[in-house]
Amino acid sequence: MTSALNPQTVPLARRLLSFTWITIGIAVLVTVVVGINYPSILVSTLATGGMWALMAGGLALVFGVMNIPNFAHGEFFMIGSLASFTVFTPIQNELLEHPSTLLLVLGPFPGMILAALVGAAVGVVMEVFLFRPLRRRSRDQWVMNTFLLTAGISVVLVNGNQLLFGNDFRGITRYWDVPPLQVLGVSVAVDRALVFIIALITIALFSVFLRSTRTGRAMRAVSQDETGAQMVGIDLNRIFMLTLGLSCGLASLAGASLLFMFPSYPSVGVQPLYLAWYVVILAGLGNVQGAVVGAFIVALLQTLTVYFIGVGWVDVLPTAFIIFILLFKPSGLFGSEVKGVWEQ
């Protein structure tokens, strides 16, 4: 995504004063203030923020590389949470009967890994059987068509889950059945702390992948100029499979990780979908880094609204906020299109 301004010639001070940086600055300030006074809120926000970063990052990736606004993204959260529940429950039962430290520590991971793999696999299937045929037929109105296509997929997945597995809530209370940690006088649930760390590690790996590996570079190339990518020998179909697989895998990992907060049921993906989309639109469509950063800001916003203003406003305020931002910066906080342009 080209920057409208050459980053090497705009003086540092002017850049810092830009709308975007002011917003980030305010967010950091608020975070610090909240953290000092209400540390448990901060911890909770970091845990969810980390996972929303994975979800929003995945959504931004698919839009950036494949130009697909994935409305079924939330359903991968659901798939992940279901997969992890299915794998973890027997492990949990085993732990109750035969307690073992090794199993206690490593128990949650098989579920999470399987969830990511299952999600990735379903994503690849979607690419091969749905998006590839569509691509072959016509690229006309691609964005709108794929948006509607994924809306259809979403409906099928949610109701399919309901038909196959019923409407029950399948949840767990804790992944790691240990007492909370005491950090600087604050009680921190182990689940939340570890989930945050998992998120950070995943984000770091993902970032390294995109920036420094041959395939990651190829993915970025495809997102910037598809034809150019073909001209240098990049197989688009392979990249698309990888992109969708990665994106859906990340969403499923998020769903698996947050199982203790969000039990598995057919429409559990609704809120994550909304949050992921909110972050991506706020940060600027297709901007993966912006989505990751934006996720933490949005998580904070959400927590603050619920805590200080009341549950009733949790829907209205964010919507009003994003409309306000988009009025001034139609391409999103981190987006860099010059104007909000209509796509051709």
Partner: protein
């Protein structure tokens, strides 16, 4: 020769588009009066089907002509319903007036939403409309003092009797009015502007059209009709919950509109009848499998998007073109 002339005359008669339209309308008018269709349960299916048809028309007015998917459509319908319902329940306002107040409310929200979001890219506008819808649903759910939230709001009905037939003619009238008004707008210079903008915004701007103004007009009109239909919903079912605004409701309408054929207005209306009835029958048959009708809609939508993006209307238009070519060839043979 007389025989050949009557064949080509018949071909011309059938090819004349007014005939199928009139025939279809007549069919709809008399269907619930003819055995074996003159049963209460069948009439009820028809009511639901025609309700979906009318919604699909209002939806397609935006999606098919200015290329904007109002992903919060169900919320505008719900707004109309709640407005009319609350006025009737709390202030005794006659439903026949209330539904227009509901249309007004929904139209105003459409105006506001459109003005704020339609200058953005198509996908942004669609998602923003979705956010507005979610926000509205949240407000309705949480403002339980007024709306009774998920417990449900009891709303007075149109008619005293529980006979479905009068309700059917009300919704049928609404469908026809919606179709007529929106089709007339499409044929006017407004419609021309819509299509120009839908195709290519820059070119439209260069021809002196201010795109945003027309987009907002379109969106407002569509929302107003959505609200009107919401009023019908309220005074037909007699009970409202925030679930009327669920995104899956929008997807149902959307699916019908696209399967019917985007940009045709009538496509969704026509396909809604068999689909709506079929879905209701499916629901009865498989009452132990909740949500199966949504799976059906989803699969159909996916198939249409990949294999027949022009929908049923596009398919019929292709047939129609081939018939005409066949007719004129026969003519030439004479």
């Amino acid at each position: 020769m007389p025989a050949r002339t009557s064949v080509s005359a018949m071909r011309a008669f059938l090819a004349d588009r007014r005939v199928p339209v009139v025939a279809f309308v007549l069919l709809l008018l008399v269907l619930p009066l003819i055995p074996p269709f003159n049963r209460q349960d069948f009439t009820r299916y028809l009511v639901v089907a025609v309700f979906m048809a009318a919604q699909a028309v209002a939806f397609d007015f935006t999606a098919g002509y200015i290329n904007v998917v109002n992903f919060g459509f169900a919320a505008f319908v719900g707004l109309g319903g709640y407005t009319s319902g609350l006025l009737a329940a709390n202030y005794g306002l006659s439903p026949w007036i209330g539904i227009f107040v509901g249309a007004l409310a929904a139209g105003l929200l459409g105006l506001l939403t459109g003005a704020l979001t339609l200058r953005l890219r198509g996908i942004y506008a669609a998602v923003m409309a979705w956010f507005v819808g979610l926000a509205l649903m949240g407000i309705v759910r949480n403002w339980a003092d007024v709306t009774r939230g998920s417990l449900g709001l009891n709303v007075p009905l149109f008619f005293a009797s529980s006979d479905n037939l009068p309700y059917y003619y009300v919704i049928l009238a609404m469908l026809l009015v919606t179709l007529l008004v929106l089709a007339l707008v499409i044929r006017s210079h407004l419609g021309l502007a819509f299509r120009a903008i839908g195709q290519n915004v820059q070119a439209a701007r260069a021809s002196g059209i201010n795109p945003t103004r027309y987009l907002v007009i379109n969106f407002t009109l569509s929302s107003a009709f959505a609200g009107l239909l919401g009023g019908f919903y309220a005074h037909y079912y007699g009970i409202l919950t925030p679930d009327v605004m669920l995104t899956s409701r929008t997807v149902e309408v959307l699916a019908i509109a696209y399967i019917g054929g985007r940009g045709s207005l009538w496509g969704g209306a026509v396909i809604a009848i068999p689909l709506g009835i079929g879905v209701e029958l499916l629901r009865i048959q498989f009452s132990d499998l909740p949500g199966i009708h949504l799976v059906l809609y989803g699969i159909l939508l996916i198939l249409v998007m990949i294999y027949r993006p022009a929908g049923v209307a596009g398919f019929l238009r292709g047939l129609d073109a081939r018939l005409r070519r066949g007719g004129s060839a026969a003519h030439e043979g004479e």
